[in-house]
């Protein structure tokens, strides 16, 4: 097993309204193919940590390395390109582009990467939508989809470029039980195929179903244990 992500001594501060230390010397590593969950109470810094790992927040101390590339201190454009190629991100509040159809939302990162022709990207996008059971809604505008449907489209979008890691920030936090199970099953399925996944959650059931759980409190890692997979 190789290491795909390593975080060393991450420190993060918020300055508004006053200086506040969100993360304190957070270090850990993620193996390829791992399904990792990060749990903790609200405000413990787990989402902040995930944003740092996802390179979307660049104001921190410490070092992040992913897929053999050092990501600390890189330019915005380099990081954007890196995210495009190596990262799939699923937000808590779905965050699709409302004017575009579900299919277009999924296709856009693929078109940006330009690894395949547009035709192939469309086929791949349809395939991803089928995978998550949204193929029937491919042509619908994102703004006309329900929350759970949007979240599933967001997962398909995260998958389009076959990323090194998929990150989810409370990917099921906004969904009802049926949808949560649906999304979780998709993640489990992907993980079993060797996809590396890091998900932040406060759902104990969700966390229990992952390979490993990192527990956080007040910006510190207080627990790190493997889960028995049933």
């Amino acid at each position: 097993m190789s290491i795909v992500l390593s975080a060393k001594n991450l420190n993060k501060y918020f300055y508004d309204p006053e200086k506040f230390r969100v993360l304190t010397d957070v270090s850990f590593e993620v193996q390829k193919g791992e399904f990792l969950s990060i749990v903790g109470k609200s405000g413990c810094g787990k989402s902040t940590l995930l944003y740092l790992l996802s390179t979307m927040d660049t104001e921190y101390e410490g070092q992040i390395e992913m897929a053999g590339t050092k990501l600390t201190g890189r330019s915005q454009d380099f990081l954007a390109h890196f995210r495009n190629e190596h990262l799939g991100f699923v937000f808590q509040f779905h965050f699709l582009l409302p004017e575009f159809s579900a299919l277009q939302n999924v296709m856009l990162p693929g078109l940006k990467l330009g690894r395949y022709l547009e035709k192939e990207i469309e086929e791949r996008a349809m395939e991803k939508l089928r995978l998550i059971g949204m193929a029937n809604y491919a042509r619908k505008p994102a703004s006309k989809l329900s929350g759970g449907q949007q979240q599933r489209v967001a997962i398909a979008r995260a998958l389009i470029n076959d990323p090194t890691i998929i990150m989810g920030d409370e990917p099921t936090g906004n969904l009802d039980k049926a949808n949560t199970e649906n999304v979780f099953d998709i993640f489990r399925d992907l993980a079993s195929k060797g996809q590396t996944i890091i998900a932040v959650t406060h759902d104990p059931d969700f966390a229990a179903g992952t390979n490993r759980t990192i527990e956080m409190s007040d910006g510190l890692i207080i627990g790190n244990h493997e889960n028995k997979i049933q």
């Binding site: 856009l108 990162p109 940006k112 979008r157």
Partner: protein, 416 residues
């Protein structure tokens, strides 16, 4: 970067919010339409004022200045000595230009000259019954004079041809004719300072819209006026010259003076006050245009800013999924260019329409000014300027906020 994805996203944005796109376009449109209308109208007024003042005067007037001051003979023979002369009379000098017709013909052939009109001008008394009014009469070759001053367009009644067919014809300033209470077809007695009296028939009236001319001046046939002054057919007192480029008149006038030795006066010297007024009006036009453009520019900037801010979440999502700063900028620049160009073109159309409506709006200037509608100028350069300004402002107004948005961490927006 693939411009196709950017343009696809830009197109989707524009089409998804049609009303917002339209409002943004109209913001550009009104700014430019107002600019076009204002500048066309103001320049039209300027042009009209300039034309009505300068069209009535020659670019160069060549004449023989009769100098009443002359040194006494004894002063010339015995300079600097104790000479006493009382009541020295001026010499009887004729204000004729020698070989005037030949000079006129030669000037006419020079390059850059639009037309030359040799003429005899003199003071005169106009009598109609007991009424006697002083004025001037110019004996002209009416075709040449017409070439200089577009008399056909200034005529209020009668025709120029009537003057050619009737040696005793007279085309009179409209105000003067009113004062004398004569109309086309009536007879007027004209007395010259030398005592020559002749009865002439008014065959037309003209109005330049300038009091000093319409009040006093009449045109007669060159030969008739020469006869009235009891002079020979080569007697010419003034040569009026119009150039193709008015600015050429100043050096050309100096040149003529050096060649022929007669006094020349160019339009710039003769119309200093008008030129100063012109400069001030031009300044005013620039100030007003600049103000309009600045106001329009701020309007456009606000709208584009709003367009980008409305899309700030989309920008964060695009960045999160791997779009780079320049992709974001390209997306909004394309939208800005579309809004700028389409709004600008529409603005040109509306500006043209408004200018056209203004130019056909009846305007009662009082019978003596030669316009019936508002003066409006249709100058392509203002349209080009307007479009250029609209597009450049819109593009800048789209560029700065989108560049700013493209530089922030996506999380700073999404966490919002």
């Amino acid at each position: 970067m693939d411009i196709r994805i950017a343009s696809q996203i830009a197109q989707t944005h524009l089409l998804a919010k049609k009303r917002q796109t339209l409002v943004a376009m109209l913001g550009v449109t009104f700014g430019i339409a107002m600019f076009i209308t204002m500048i066309s109208f103001m320049q039209g007024v300027n042009q009209f004022l300039e034309d009505s003042a300068l069209d009535a005067s020659p670019h160069i007037r060549m004449y023989n200045e009769v100098n009443t001051q002359r040194p006494g003979l004894i002063e010339q023979l015995n300079p600097g000595k104790f000479n006493v002369i009382y009541h020295q009379k001026p010499k009887d000098e004729q204000s004729r230009i020698k070989n005037g017709m030949t000079i006129a013909g030669r000037i006419e052939r020079a390059s850059g000259v639009l037309g030359v009109s040799p003429q005899v001008a003199t003071q005169a008394f106009y009598n109609n019954g007991p009424i006697q009014i002083s004025g001037t009469i110019s004996g002209v070759d009416i075709d040449r004079e017409n070439r200089l001053y577009k008399l056909t367009t200034r005529l209020k009644s009668g025709s120029l041809n009537a003057l050619k067919t009737n040696p005793d014809g007279l085309i009179m300033g409209a105000v003067l004719a009113d004062k004398l209470n004569v109309r086309t077809g009536d007879k007027v007695t004209v007395t010259t300072p030398k005592g020559g009296i002749r009865t002439l028939r008014v065959v037309g009236t003209f109005g330049f819209g300038i009091g000093t001319i319409d009040n006093t001046k009449s045109y007669g046939n060159l030969s008739t006026v020469q006869e009235m002054l009891q002079r020979d057919p080569s007697y010419i007192t003034d040569i009026h010259i119009k150039m193709i480029d008015p600015l050429m008149a100043i050096p050309f006038g100096k040149q003529l003076r050096a060649i022929y030795g007669y006094y020349t006066e160019d339009w710039a010297t003769a119309n200093t006050a008008i030129l100063a007024g012109e400069k001030i009006r031009n300044m005013l036009t620039y100030v007003v245009s600049f103000t309009l453009l600045v106001v329009a520019g701020f309007g456009i900037y606000n709208i584009m800013n709003m367009t980008v801010i409305n899309k700030i979440k989309d920008i964060a999502i695009l960045k999160a999924t791997g779009f780079e700063g320049r992709d974001i900028i390209a997306i909004f620049l394309l939208q800005a260019i579309f809004i700028g160009v389409s709004g600008g073109l529409l603005g040109l159309g509306i500006g043209f329409g408004l200018s056209y409506l203004l130019s056909i709006t009846p305007f009662d200037a009082g019978g003596f000014i030669s316009i019936k509608t508002f003066p409006v100028i249709f100058e392509p350069k203002y349209y080009i300027l307007g479009l250029l300004f609209g597009v450049v402002t819109t593009v800048l107004a789209g560029y700065f906020p989108s560049r700013k948005a493209s530089q922030v961490d996506p999380v700073a927006i999404l966490r919002g």
